[in-house]
Symmetry: C2
Subunit: 231 residues, 2 copies
DNA sequence: CGCAACATTGAGACCAGTCAAGCAAAGTGG
DNA sequence: CCACTTTGCTTGACTGGTCTCAATGTTGCG
């Protein structure tokens, strides 16, 4: 975790992040308030329980949004991709953990200042509304995923969702992709155990639906079969 | 389902709905564009698959937001209470069903006109952002609920959530309340079967944690015991 | 009253969790 | 460079919770 100044010119998500709708002057203003931070895989970006003082945007890498209940079980509520927002906007305390899944970079700002800007700049509020609705959509997609009864249907749906996300073309799914999550993290997302994830992948491979390439590589051989499980 | 003109003066949620932030002139304008509609329990308010042409606010009663997958299984993604929004704002097609859970009333507007107003009136966009964030929060709470492994923990958490929602005071949960859902709907929300819901309620009652009063009445006798299950 | 929808209860099958062992890859330190 | 540890993944045997199928009760409404 190391902090550097923000330089929007070299920002890979300058066109997609919420800040894109701001005037250059406003963005310069924000730039001076915030900082660019690097994280290594597994490092905490925002910790639940702390007062909500920071928010920002993921610039590169990937992160997970998770909650931990009293018995120590962690569940992943969302994945955050570059240009995604970090921190529960307009909340008083951070109630969820944000953790780097891979080496990542983030732009972080004082939440109060950022929120104030949203009240002053209609375009920013409007853009944040779009972002919130997109996150809501994704959250409901995840509910769809995990409310499937059978573990193999959940995993099949997740694999197909990753294939879709990994594809460059909008119409075709990627046939080969890397899982951005460990088995344990997949298990946390789907509400099953690591062993079930592992066994189910083994069965998918034995049935010819896919081929595992290393620990995280997946090559889909029969995505229709997986789609059939999803229902 | 019967349509009448909108009269904000007698609207029970005039102070809480998103329209509350509009000027009287803007509200009058909207009033003429929209209509007030009544629904009986079970009637469809918005149907998935249709072009997204209508959005609005639930005025009284209760509704469910649900998706139906190809094998006909319905899953409830959210409950909508009075002042809650109806319809996926800024979407091109309706992808979720909205159904009345009890006899209900809704204010409905042409989506394009309402969305245009959000672009013209910063306060409305800002208010809708707050609403979207609230829904996102609730959606993630539901994920928390249904990702609990054991069925009794899920049901206990749901009962406690209803007790909280039914309480008038902010600090205390209601000890007695009516379930707004049938067993089947509870099962759909929690991702279990009707039978499991029924058996689990029976066990809770036998263990002295609650008492069933009719089909939908619940009296909590030992909410701490239920809280213990949740973890 | 009788039907229809909703709810409860039981018996058996099966999927997934738990516990436990072993393997592979990557990193660590002498 | 090699022993050692750590971390993540796989596999097996066993157990238990939940689903399925089926029958019976209950409630509300025409």
């Amino acid at each position: 975790m190391s902090a550097t100044p923000i330089v929007c010119d070299r920002c890979p998500v300058a066109d997609r992040a919420v800040c894109a709708v701001l005037s250059e002057a406003d963005r310069d203003h924000l730039t001076r308030l915030g900082r660019r931070q690097r994280y290594r895989r597994g490092e905490t970006i925002l910790a639940a329980g702390h007062p909500h003082s920071t928010c920002g945007t993921l610039v590169s890498g990937a992160a997970k949004l998770s909650s931990i209940d009293s018995d120590g079980t962690e569940r992943i509520l969302a994945l955050i991709h570059p240009a995604g927002t970090l921190g529960q906007m307009f909340a008083t305390t951070e109630r969820l953990h944000v953790t780097a899944l891979t080496d990542s970079e983030a732009c972080l700002f004082p939440a109060a200042r950022f929120e104030a800007l949203a009240d002053e700049r209609p375009r920013l509020a409007r853009r944040m509304l779009a972002e919130a609705l997109r996150e809501l959509e994704e959250s409901r997609t995840l509910i769809d995923l995990i409310s499937k009864r059978q573990a193999d249907a959940r995993l099949a749906a997740l694999l197909l969702a990753f294939a879709r996300a990994a594809s460059t073309a909008a119409c075709h799914d990627a046939l080969r992709f890397e899982l951005p999550l460990t088995r344990g993290e997949i298990a946390q997302m789907l509400g099953v155990t690591i062993e079930t994830v592992s066994r189910t992948l083994t069965r998918f491979e034995r049935d010819g639906a896919l081929r595992r390439e290393g620990a995280h590589g997946i090559a889909l051989l029969d995505s229709a079969a997986l789609g059939g499980l999803v229902g």
